[in-house]
């Protein structure tokens, strides 16, 4: 017989392997919660969820795993929406005859689950054969000796609601947004791009709040002695009312340079669109796009307009872009200017002109480089990012929407 503690430990291990982060403190909480709430199945599930799942987007994976791990004695009767469940039930009942066969719906399911593909950001989407095998093994383990599970009474409420596992409206929407936020730009197609634009709206708001707040933060600055003393005159010189200096808003001009060549195009457009939404947090926002030349970019009604039009089949040359910027737009490079560059720095082995970038960095408030490429690939092949790294103020990875947003917030 396996103790319940060990079973829970294994359950948490499985949960971790699906990519959900569970700390040691949380797993102790979970044990305490189960001890307090009891073993009645639905209540135990909620107790585990409350202590282990801190993000509604993870709830679906949790419910799936729970259903697999702690089988209900009501065999497959109430479970219409879990077609795979029956299969496992049967295999558990029939012993270890052919676990592989009866468990076949398993890997298929993890393919279908949108959560999983979102999680595996950057990794191949399908579980490898060894992973699948491991999952099967652990499944077998979990139900190995047949009678090792505690009997779970099905509560009246659960019977009434028939498992009631369908995620609610809002829960589903959040899960979808989450998934797209974590999808790497390199895996984007037009479909993902469209969905990302939807996800952009809350991000935009988040961004505006953050930037707006920095202006307002510490509304009450330092004490203003002159005004405090003047206010005190009314009270016979007693400084009864403190007066504070108001904070001056920052004046920042934002200058964006975005690479729109093939691989990073989606990232570039999303950045320009995101910043178009946050435009009134800056004094002036200028956007440029480039491949081998520079073109001014603007966003109108969700469409990117460039002038002059760029040759989309040209080969990237950031060195030349820097020269153009330096020669034609020097008036934009002031101490108030924050330069944000987005690109993979793949220069086709043309001169990178990092010296110019260093000069720009010296003239302006700062130069921030966002690289949508996976950090492991930086500096490989024709990537000149290592030359640029020394010339810029900061370099951030921006491989997916979430990273992009985080990097932009850090930059501004």
């Amino acid at each position: 017989m396996t103790s319940l503690r060990e079973q829970l430990g294994r359950f948490i291990g499985e949960l971790r392997s699906t990519g959900i982060r569970v700390s040691v403190a949380e797993s102790i909480d979970a044990m305490n919660a189960v001890a307090a709430a009891g073993l009645e199945r639905a209540r135990m599930r909620e107790a585990l969820a409350a202590t282990l799942i801190k993000d509604e987007a993870d709830r679906e994976s949790f419910d799936d795993l729970f259903a697999r791990f702690f089988a209900s004695p009501a065999r497959g009767k109430t479970r219409k929406q879990h077609p795979d469940h029956r299969g496992i039930q049967v295999s558990a009942g029939a012993g270890q005859g052919k676990p592989g066969e009866s468990l076949r719906p398993e890997p298929k399911r993890s393919d279908e689950s949108p959560r999983e593909s979102g999680r595996a950001a950057g990794k191949p989407r399908k579980p490898t054969e060894t992973e699948t095998q491991a999952a099967r093994e652990s499944m077998k383990d979990a139900r190995g000796e047949g009678a090792l599970q505690p009997a779970f009474a099905v509560s009246a409420a659960e019977r009434e609601l028939g498992e009631a596992e369908e995620p609610g409206l809002e829960g589903m929407r959040i899960a979808k947004l989450r998934e797209i936020e974590r999808t790497p730009f390199s895996a984007y197609s037009d479909l993902e791009y469209e969905r990302a634009q939807e996800a952009l709206k809350p991000l935009e708001r988040h961004f505006r709040i953050r930037l707006g707040r920095r202006l307002r933060l510490a509304r009450r600055g330092r004490i203003d002695f002159r005004r405090t003393i003047r206010a005190g005159i009314q009270r016979g010189g007693v400084l009864a009312e403190l007066r504070f200096r108001a904070r001056r808003p920052r004046h920042v001009d934002l200058l964006m340079l975005a690479d729109i060549s093939g691989s990073v195009r989606y990232a570039a457009e999303l950045m320009l669109e995101l910043m178009a939404g946050a435009r009134n947090c800056f004094r002036r926002v200028t956007g440029f796009v480039y491949i081998d030349r520079l073109a001014e970019a603007s966003f109108e009604q969700g469409h990117l307009l460039t002038s002059p039009a760029l040759d989309l089949y040209a080969r990237s040359d950031f060195g030349r872009v820097l020269v153009e910027l330096w020669e034609n737009h020097r008036e934009l490079l002031t101490r108030q200017t924050l330069v944000v560059i987005l690109g993979d720095a793949r220069n086709n082995r043309r001169p990178p002109r990092a010296d110019l970038l260093r000069e720009i960095s010296r003239l302006t408030r700062g130069v921030v480089w966002l690289n949508p490429e996976e950090p492991a690939r930086w500096g490989t092949g024709d990537s000149a990012i290592e030359q640029y790294r020394a010339a810029v103020t900061a370099l951030y990875p921006a491989g997916n929407l979430r990273e992009l947003e985080r990097a932009l917030l850090a930059a501004c």
Partner: protein, 290 residues
């Protein structure tokens, strides 16, 4: 009160809060494990209500801290009453007291303005502390809150450390205006309250608007459920549903047909484009599937 899942369910029923097992279990755990409860969910799904009901259930008071951008410790925890201190100083000076005595006076509890957090900690009995819309506060404030939530103690430099006499029950709510930190999530139990299902909403309507015809209540619940699925800018909250059913009652509507839907839609939907969207679908939403 002895805390068991059953007693919590009973207590919620007595406090007239209709909910499901998920919410019950989370509330029970918050009481049994004495951990803060973080509640997320769409606006108007009843997050804040949980804290109010909890206070009612336990027969204790509710201390509420409404978060907003720029909320700082002075507003949340304590502040010295500067003006009062100043008065005291002048009075003492007139009597010719020395500085040591003076400073002893002006840095005592009497001159401290207690804000919600300190009030919850120093309360002589267990209170429910509601930290509402924590996502609106700054990240810095969140970090400060972490310390408080793990130890329930505060150090005030002039007075020393203040420890909670009775640990308050803490409920935090968030609307996801921004992502909360992992550290905060780790320390809290998590509960997600979604909009209620049709059946649950019907029970809520019947409880809160008892005069409404039972059949109409069921139809109203079904209608609101369908409206929420349309992907509106602002889906109707439970409170709006209740207002709307009260409006139906006042208007003397017996049957929820297309014209009845149009009649009081402004109570349910607060955006013009949402209204237009529902109005054009009014007749199809009114027909009852059998």
């Amino acid at each position: 009160m002895d805390v068991t899942p059953q007693s919590v369910a009973e207590g919620l029923k007595r406090a007239r809060y209709i909910t499901n097992e998920r919410v019950e279990t989370a509330i029970f755990l918050a009481l049994a494990l004495e951990k803060p409860l973080l509640i997320e969910g769409p606006a108007g799904a009843g997050k804040t209500e949980v804290a109010k009901v909890l206070a009612e259930m336990l027969g204790t008071s509710l201390v509420r801290l409404q978060c907003y951008e720029g909320l700082d410790e002075a507003r949340a925890l304590y502040e010295w009453n500067y003006q009062k201190q100043l008065l005291r100083m002048q009075a003492d000076e007139a009597q010719g007291l020395r500085w040591e005595e003076l400073s002893e006076h002006i840095f005592s509890a009497e001159y401290l303005l207690e804000r919600p957090l300190l009030k919850a900690i120093t309360a002589p009995h267990r209170v429910v502390l509601l930290i509402d819309e924590i996502d609106k506060a700054d990240e810095e404030f969140e970090a400060f809150l972490l310390e408080l939530l793990s130890d329930f103690q505060v150090s005030i430099p002039e007075l020393g450390t203040v420890r909670a006499i009775e640990r308050p029950i803490v409920v935090l709510t968030s609307n996801r205006a921004r992502e909360l930190s992992e550290a905060l999530r780790r320390r809290c139990l998590h509960l997600f309250i979604d909009f209620p299902g049709v059946e649950q909403e019907r029970r809520i309507i019947e409880l809160k608007v008892p005069d409404l015809d039972a059949r109409l209540a069921a139809e109203a619940a079904r209608f609101v459920g369908a409206v929420r699925k349309l992907g509106l800018r602002k889906p109707p909250s439970i409170a709006e549903t209740l207002d709307w059913t009260r409006a139906l009652l006042q208007l003397g509507i017996k049957e929820l047909d297309a014209s009845a839907i149009r009649a009081a839609l402004g109570v349910l939907l607060k955006h013009e484009d949402d209204r237009a969207k529902v109005e054009t679908r009014a007749s199809s939403l009114a027909t009852r599937p059998r």
